[in-house]
Amino acid sequence: MHWLRRLFRKEQSEKQLDAELRFHIERQIADNFAKGMAPEEARRRAQLDFGGLEPIKQEIRESRRGHLLEALFQDLRYASRLLRQNLGFTIAAAITLALGIGANTAIFSIVNAVILRPLPYKDSARMVSLSTHTAMYPTFSLGLSWIDFQQIRSQASSVEQSAAYYESEKTLTEKGAPAILSLANVSDGFFEELGASAQQGRLLTERDTRPGQSHVIVLSDPLWRTRFGRDPSVLGRSVILNKESYTIVGVASRGFDFPEKSEAWLPLSLSPADQQNHIFFMLQVLAKLRPGQKIKKLQTQLETIAQRTMKDVPELSAGYSFSAVPLLEDRVGDTRGAYFILLGAATLVLLISCANLASLLLARGSGRQREMALRAALGASRGRLLRQGLVESCLLALIGGGLGVFLAAEGVQLFRAIAPANTPRLHEISIDSSLLWFSLLTSVLAGILFGLVPARRAARMEPNDALKEGSGTNLGAARSTRQSRLGDALVTVEVALAFVLLVGSALMTLTVSHLLHQNPGFRTDHLLSFDLPQPPFDLSADLSAQAKKQSEQFKGIVDEIRLVPGVAAVTASDHGVLSGMTMMHGGLKVDGAITSKEDRHASARYVYPSYFQILGISLVRGREFTERDTGDAQAVVLVNEAMAREYWGTNDVLGKRISMSTDGKGKPVWNEVVGVVADAREIALRDAPSPVYFLSILQGGNGSVHLLVRTLTDPEALQATISRQIWSAYPDQPITHVTTMNGAISKSIGNERLRSILLVVFAGIGFALALVGLYGVISYSVARRVQEIGIRMALGASPPSVLVMVLRQGLLPVFLGIGLGALAAFSLGRVIASQLYGVEPSDPATFLGATGLVLLVACIACCIPARRAMRVDPMVALRYE
């Protein structure tokens, strides 16, 4: 503790050290004198024997424990004094860094929460999600059948635990407005595998899944809080779901939400028929690998099981297989790439701010050459000077990083607020200590990165040259050239990085604008859409009676809506328009098709009469559905032009027949084509028109109904009125997803829009920083060359020629930067190609535009110092020395 005390009593210990050494010298002098030397000689010899006082003191200081800390304190004090002295520089530098570090930290916290952090379940790293692939639906991942699930459970030895579930929705009608609950029907072992626990009551067990057990339900914490007011007495109470009663047996612990957004859990109990059905591809299977087992091993085992199943069950065609994907990958999906692009963009911003600071420090460093030289001459070692420089830059970076943390925290909040609700793991994004650590680390790295070159330069200085330079004329010319070359290189790097950012953000903005202005092929104005969720059919009761009742109620609702003033027309389809969801049908039988292709699939939609008229999709041939196309009439179908062309090569296909199913005896059920409609992008804006066929919702349907209302007045104003009208007649009818079509369009491109906004912000910051850097380097070099310019002008150089000289010097690194940036952007194009729509990653107009913009602004940045140079008065310049 000795040395720590000394740290604080430094002055005293310095004094004592001095006294001790002086005592020694004086005794030596006295002894020398006593030996008979002359006083002068005695003093001289003593001092000669002793050697330099300072180096000994320094050695003693450095040998003390705590010396490094002490020196660091000293450096810090010195650095902070310097930073305080140049407050303007410090503020500019701190803001530059705060932008870079803030952008990086914010994006990193998001990436960390979404992609890097394991999912919040027990041993989630070992969990994989399984799916089935068949030749019939080659591009789709299907769920597993119960039989396959059981096979995998018993035969895949690399699996430690597994559970199956499927997601469904049911209508809760009890207290207040009816609500749709997102449910998961889960098999035994589900909660155990995920490591879930109950905060009230119990979770589901194997017993609950046995047939004949009474209906039970486990609530999620949010549902319990919002719908049941955290009432602990809910246990044992019953709730009504789809008009059936379920007993609440427990509430899951807070934060447990698997599958994502599920509000309650029911036991998975399948009928014996479903359990034996090989094509009942309904179940999501969650398997946990044994510790140390590789996913490869599981895939081999799955292959064996699939081969055996294929042999046992001839209906399953070749190409039957299972796949296993890590759960995290399954959850995050294709947003991964988008996040990495953003992280890359943020890193570019940080690199630009580092380059910027390096050039600022270089410029300032040359102003401090004499100070450094003086310190070197007074005995400061190179290592010490280097450390001093790094301490200074790191301190600067930490100040910037501190500001950056605030920016990042704000940024993360903002992201949470504006990110589309379907962003995976959105609610897990939060501001936590990882943000702090990351920014600390980034700051120190940045400090070293931008401080190292200037600090090395300062430390390498030959004191002799530098001291002379100050008083001489142009002795440091060689070094100045080297210095400006380094400055130019930094400008080149900055411009290149900024160019990449500009191109990237422009491409993303074009993508969004293409999507926004993509002609969807139907009228989107004055169009309101909402879902009328219907309870699924009870498979054990009379199906046709249920269907009849449902379609009657549906007709009644449509009639109610028509009563609302301002409503022009009402229609419906089974899937939301632009929801990206569609039913894909494979194995179509097509009458008189020109292709003999075995694998025929198309999207299917069930629509209500007047669907095409109301959406504004033109009828090319034939007629559309009417109220008479019911189950009793001839089964009919409409196709879009894409389908007509693909299967028959002509639009003239009225009277042709398509079969998508068979009756009970294996005989195809034929639907006659009665109309052809124009292609429209009603499924997803991004998808090019693909074959779609339409069936009358009155001849089938699957219970799911999305209403479309064409209005005469502002559709938004009518939303509430329509809901009230429906509830007045059908008080237990749930209504969800109420939105205007234009609202749905902007929602369907929400992710792209957010990404492009972020990229534009990053590009803006990066671009601005690069320009500031360019301006700094040019004006510094002009300031340094004032004398030279003065001489040139005194010798007859015209102001324009000076301007050209400055511009040429300033723009050369800019051109180089643009060239490098274009190369980089071109080769990075592949990376972002998958995120683009309607624009090539190497879009020439974008590249040209970015080049023009950079050049234009770079010219302006050069012109201000250049004008100053033109106005140099030769006399003043010459006297400058």
Partner: protein, 111 residues
């Protein structure tokens, strides 16, 4: 010859200093004089090594120091051996003896 005089085996200076201080409280100048005298002028302690060594030993807790009046009446920094320092000196002496025995053995054997 001056060159030869001032050479020290690494680590031996510490031991010599400890040994000299073991005789009683003493200041830096006296230590350098004492080493010079006892070694019959063979060792001349360079101040550039002596004072860093003294401070190092003090830092390690083998020596303690205080300011008291010197023989000339001026205050000087006197070093005293601590208990820890005495132990250290003992280990170093044992080690030194073994080392010099070993060296002597080798030299004799090589004759």
């Amino acid at each position: 010859m001056a060159q030869e005089k001032s050479e020290f085996l690494k680590g031996t200076l510490d031991m010599l200093v400890l040994k000299v201080v073991a005789l009683g409280p003493i200041h830096g100048y006296a230590i350098s004089q004492r080493i010079q005298q006892i070694s019959k002028e063979f060792f001349q302690v360079p101040q550039g090594s002596l004072y860093p060594a003294l401070h190092r030993l003090e830092d390690r807790g083998w020596l303690s120091a205080d300011w008291r009046e010197s023989e000339t009446g001026r205050d000087a920094k006197f070093y005293t051996l601590t208990r820890k320092g005495r132990k250290q000196l003992e280990t170093e002496l044992v080690y030194w003896e073994r080392l010099s025995d070993a060296v002597a053995l080798i030299l004799r054997a090589a004759e």
